[in-house]
Symmetry: C2
Subunit: 186 residues, 2 copies
């Protein structure tokens, strides 16, 4: 296969409205698509994010049960976070792994990049597998609004949980897990 | 495992700004989280969507190479679409499978529900596996702004393509594929 296809930019004709919300921005833009059609679309401008699948030396999956206001539920998600200004995806991920899960990892593998919602967001999430974990004695302070619990499961328990239909599956977490499994089996 | 955890609504204090954009709406809301903290967050209100993994009788994966303005690229995605008013997820999916890929399916399995970006969108995507496919002689007319190509690959070609790191992975498609594989192997 060829490397990742190059960008094919659309032509921005005008921005009709916009709202800034913390790290993201929503814009209503009139654009001209590569096929020549002009239309008005809404989209999120996002700084990007990073996610890690943390696996302990005794093969436990570390995952969060986290409250997400947008869906009004507690869902299963791997530790992840939005990139801060000037931060590389891996630096960001090391910070989030400590703040959210309370771990430091000494072995990092890159699992590629994923798009959570290419229909209306430019967000790209950098995926990692984090191994050789060390549990921190104290979690560094993260965001005040985080409402989460750190869980540990065997790989089998985790896969049964995904198969059960009792979870609303988080796209970024399942995509990362799909990629991680290949390295874990190798 | 228990069934899908019930919703835990946040308290909406006030909507500070909003923008309507076709089928989606962006709101900047001051809310009170279940942990008692009040904050202002941006979020997408979305009607929901459906996606299908179409597999032909000779075990080919049908997938689209589709232009997505939000990421300015052509990405690999399974046929999917936003629910229209009054349409069930399965009805919507049958329409999209015909319009986007040019197929009708006689065997449908539900693969659960996924959340593409629970951090800032309430969108839920209903996932299906579509089998016993019949190629339509003519594709019904879909959206004017669609810019896509229909591809057919063996399962091995598709998995190699995902492993290659030459694709920006679409979260909803990989999540559906992860769930579909279990049924395809059974």
């Amino acid at each position: 296969m060829a490397p990742i296809a190059p960008k094919e930019p659309y032509k921005l004709l005008n921005t009709q409205a916009s709202i800034n919300a913390k790290k993201i921005r929503f814009e209503l833009n009139q654009i001209e698509l590569p096929i020549g059609i002009s239309e008005t679309f809404g989209m999120i401008i996002h700084p990007g994010a990073a996610l890690a699948v943390p696996i302990t030396n005794d093969e436990k999956v570390i995952i969060l049960r986290q409250y997400r206001f947008a869906v009004s539920r507690r869902i299963l998600e791997f530790p992840a976070g939005t990139l801060e200004d000037g931060e590389s995806p891996l630096e960001s991920m090391k910070r989030e792994l400590a703040e959210e899960a309370g771990y430091q990892a000494n072995r990092w593998d890159h699992l590629g990049q994923m798009l959570p919602c290419p229909g209306y967001s430019d967000e790209v999430i950098h995926l990692y597998l984090a191994r050789d974990l060390i549990k921190l004695e104290e979690k560094p302070k993260g965001d005040d609004d985080e409402d989460l619990e750190v869980l540990s499961m065997t790989i089998e328990e985790f896969e049964n949980c995904l198969a059960s239909r009792n979870e609303l599956l988080d796209g970024k977490s399942i995509t990362a897990w799909y990629q991680a499994r290949r390295l874990l089996k190798a």
